[in-house]
Amino acid sequence: MDSFLNFSNENLWIEIWPELCLALAALLILGLDLFRKPDSSRLLSGRIAILFQLGLVIFHLFDYLVWHHTFDRVAFSGMLSLGIQGDVMRSFFLLSSLLVSILGHQYLKSGSLRCGEFHHLTMLATAGLMLLVQSSHFLMLFVALETVAICFYTLVAYNRTSEKSLEAGIKYLIFGALSSSLLLFGIVLIYGVGANPEAWGAVFAGYESQDPLGFKYISNLLESNPNNLLLKAGVVLIIAGIAFKIGAAPFQIWVPDVYHGSPMPVTAFLAVSSKAAGFFVLLNLVNGPFLGMAEFLMPLLGFVATFTIFFGNLAACAQQNLKRMLGLSGVAHAGYLLVAVMASMQFAGNSDRAVWVLFFYLFTYLLASFAVFGVMGLARLKDEMDHEFSVYEDLVAKHPWMAFVLVSGIASLAGIPPFAGFIGKLLLFSVAFEAKLHFSLIAMVVGVAISIYYYFGWIREIIFKPRPSFSDETEENEKDLWVKIPSFSMFKLCMITLAICSLILGIWQGPFGDAF
């Protein structure tokens, strides 16, 4: 018993209570769904999941706003390092998971798909994401990454009655597994050199930590050997693996297909949580263990960011399918965020400002994306994957509140004042300017200008009158295109809150304002 208590105290299990709660609740929901009586409501598990996550979000905010659990700390003998940035990301993932559950609840109401597994997988993936952003050891990083990835493969293919969803799942699985293999090979190369430096022509400096997979050890190793070929290859492979996850060019090929085929709530989940986690891990790596290689990485990341911005925006212009367009515009957003990561490398040692700008941008992206995907999920189409521009013709006259939420989301994504996206982009520009990344800054400005074109095309469809049509049949069909939402429902309330939040954040930055 004593040794058990010692084990538990040494490892600080209490530090990961949100993850433990999420995982336990996920198991509970799965069990509940298994033993549910056939005549009881199939939506019960969704309600439980939403209520539970709402409670967890509130409690977690209390935990670190009121009780100030924000000092840096290390748990599980160096596997996890927790601090204020990790806590902000945790709240981000909890909030996004709550919104995915709300969207998923609405999505599963109409279909014949099972509900319990959806919420189970969402919560497990979120627990994995929360561990991923706090890991400071490559073993932890790999296991958390794979937990997330395997939940996502299943979620993408969740609508198994649809061939497109299954196809997207297979594609995501193959590309995801390929990217994790690249990442893993990079880790192995660094481990090989780190465990036995003399054999590979590296210098052995006195290290603080003895763990060749821990971030601290690798940081020392790379600082003393910035020119070792194997170490360089390892770093490039790890960056390539993460670039796959965030959908940065030239590793963006899977993005349009997977966004197109996956169910709407999962597309939102992929766009927000998965990408945000990738960025935070990248940020952790380039400001932690890979700092010694900064000179070598800067041009590489600069090239990737510029290429990503241009590719994403230009390819999105040509798309007719809205889900594909949003996927490619997400690629462009990944490019903008990469510039913020580069800026944080330029301010080495004093990167907090760039990091907070990145957080603010991610947060506005969360609000806008969930508003857009939430409304898109309400369209009842023959094939739910085929969102064309014409579906949204004259939405403002049919359902004003949906049009308001959708337009606020699109405008925030495009960066039009007075929405939060504008402030996010402005801060990103200012940070890039301060970091003297002039070339990337120009690429960003041009990219944003291009993106206005396709976002405005969509807004035009929603707000302005449709082209005159002469066939009566289309009129008949359009009448019941949108799912009826009762005037007071949780879903509607949540969507309108998202839109209003992104409006308010555009005018008053409140808690974030102090950080700039």
Binding site: L139, A157, I174, S180, Y191, N196, L213
Partner: protein, 102 residues
Amino acid sequence: MESITPQHYLILAFLLFSVGFFGVVLRRNLLLVLMSLELMLNGINVALVSFSRASGNLDGSLFVFFIMTVAATEVAVGLALLVALYKKRKSVFSEDISLLKN
């Protein structure tokens, strides 16, 4: 007589990894793509074990177990998806699975 050094193992691991990589990129049969993914991970395992053995640090050998577990789950999900897709399309060739175009 020359003995086998970690460098030789690294070359072997790299070759296995490349065979797997090109298998994933070039193969048309999705079952073979899944097998190639496994091959990549096995190449990584060879490198890990040899590094771990050469340096006397056991972390690498431990890592291999995690990789094997992950590879098994990945393939389980992959095969399940493939079976579900096969029921619909009656094919496991990638050229028959291309509904997701503009």
